[in-house]
């Protein structure tokens, strides 16, 4: 078994004239939380879509768990779970019905799917709201259901695309705790964000991405020490130093 669970080599994707992803390579180790940090439009979502088999790269290669995305997308899909940036849920249906449906589509039997739905709702702290329509949930609760849905296929590698955008601190903490717990149970995670503090707190390694290019890669401490003593520098300053711009611009 190799140390690397995901290997992405020289990924490229253009949308018309826009080079959304322009030669990105990185690896994700087993049981690692790997962060992709970059402003809006940097190319984070496009990278996740290519890694998760829903968007074909113009060039480059991806291997996940030793399986090639290009040649064995079915095999790869069995290993991954995706929590998309959008709330990819059916608002009219209950949290439980949403999860059961996604679980069954991923191949679980009816009983298995119900059990897994209860487990995952428990994990994100929403078991008591299982029967309520998702439409009635707060933004943060919807985000938690969105995450729970990604866990229904019991993935080895979880893609989390900005899972904390615009939510309350309670839901955010819940999501952080869930991610850390999943990692401790053996899961690898790709986490994208444009919040420095999140990347700093969760990730063992961070790739800084801007205009579709990976402009720096390392542990939070390594990134910071490039410009000064790690405990005095913020990732905000790292980004400013790398690009001459503020991350939030």
């Amino acid at each position: 078994m190799t140390e690397e669970f995901l290997v992405a080599k020289d990924l490229r994707k253009r949308f018309g004239d826009v080079p959304a992803v322009d030669g990105v390579s990185f690896t994700i180790r087993r049981q690692e939380i790997f962060g992709l940090l970059g402003p809006n439009g940097a190319g984070k979502t496009t990278i996740i879509r290519m890694l998760s088999t829903t968007l074909e790269p113009d060039a480059g290669g991806i291997e996940i768990g030793g399986r090639s995305v290009a040649e064995d997308s079915v095999g790869v899909r069995a290993l991954i779970g995706v929590c998309p940036q959008e709330l990819a849920l059916y608002p009219e249906l209950s949290a439980r019905d949403n999860l059961v449906f996604f679980g069954r589509m991923a191949g679980l039997g009816s009983r298995q799917a119900k059990e897994a739905a209860a487990e995952n709702l428990e994990l994100v702290g929403l078991l008591d709201r299982a029967k309520d329509a998702v439409r009635k949930f707060s933004g943060g609760m919807k985000r938690r259901v969105n995450l729970a849905a990604a866990l229904m296929s019991r993935p080895h590698l979880l893609f989390l695309d900005e899972p904390t955008v615009g939510i309350d601190p309670q839901s955010r903490n819940h999501i952080f705790e869930t991610i850390l717990r999943l990692r401790s149970e053996g899961m690898s995670v790709l986490y994208t964000t444009h919040y420095m503090e999140e990347a700093d707190r969760l990730c063992s390694r961070i790739g800084v991405i801007d205009h579709g290019r990976l402009i720096s890669l390392g542990t939070p401490a390594e990134l910071k020490s490039a410009i000064g003593p790690p405990d005095e520098v913020t990732l905000e300053q790292v980004f400013l130093n790398l690009t001459g711009r503020n991350l939030r611009d």
Partner: protein, 392 residues
Amino acid sequence: MLVLRQTLLIAAKDTKVFLKDPFGVAFALLFPLMFILGFSLALRNIAPEDEQLAITVATREQEGLSHRIINLLTEDELLGAVVMPYDAAVRAVEEEEIGGFVAFPADFTSGLTEGRPTKLEVVARAGDPELEAALMGFARSVASSSSNTRIALAAIAQIAGPAALPRDAASFGRGGSLLSFETEQVGPVEAFNAANFTVPGYLTMYVFFAAAMGARAIMRERVNYTLERLMSNGARRESVVAGKYLGALYLGAIQLAVLWGAGLLAFGIHLGVSPAAVIVVSALMVLTSAAFGVMLASLVHTEASASSAAVLASLLLAPIGGCWWPLFITPEWMQSLAKLTPHGWANTAFNKLMLFGAEGGDVLVEMAALAAFGLAFLVVALVRFRLSPGGP
């Protein structure tokens, strides 16, 4: 197996989602019922007074079946047929007193009883297409395997006893009837119950409308990435297309059950001599409309464009296809235009079956045309459908 399982799961989920949307349910089921009720009442009030065309009939036989049939027809108050001697009827047409008439030939009785083909004669003044169409429709309904044919059979039996019936009485009314009629055009024999026209008309319109609006729901799933989530979850593209299609079929089946049920129970419609054929035509309309919805979703890029295309198509095709007024009262160019729409074929078939007494065999062309539309829509949908924006 995998595709079938996923297809069924998606269709079941879609039905669940649909039933939780009160507006969607109202739109697919209550709207058409409201229109049917409104227009049936409106038409009921005008039809008997001034809309009815008087049908003149004549016979060249001295005695025999035609007299018996004419008696039955003229006794029927609603039909309001008028009988005239043949020569007087010809003169009346020449002097423009009447627009035309239908005549039984001199060999009518002997032809029928001896199993020889015989022809009805339609005499019509040029320049009154509406009456001409009415006469042709009338003649056809007598000639075809209609309730009128059964009148004829009953008349034969009454006069001469069952032994006098043609050798194969059962085949009497079928496509190759002994009694034929020269023109294929179907015209209006008065629709006694306006609901016999409005129910299938609005059923056709709303089956199509609801299915077309299904495109919006599919777009919403593409835009909010649930389709993409399904894909990364292991769902096949074909499962999604088939699941969406099957879900739309479930909805259409619910519409058929409710609208035909209401038509029969509340509006007293009559499905004609071949109720099964009426159901088959409506089922084909569901199959074709559902295919249109999935095709639409495979062609547009946003939820809003799916929505406006669905509304536009539905509101445009309904009148062109004869959902709002009967096609047979429209000019010929409009009847030709109607052939470009699935609605036109469905309504023509419904009118033939429910108003003019046609049998299943008489609407095979319409059925085939509907199926062809559906097949074409499905092919486009299968080729063009994408699960994610810009993706496979």
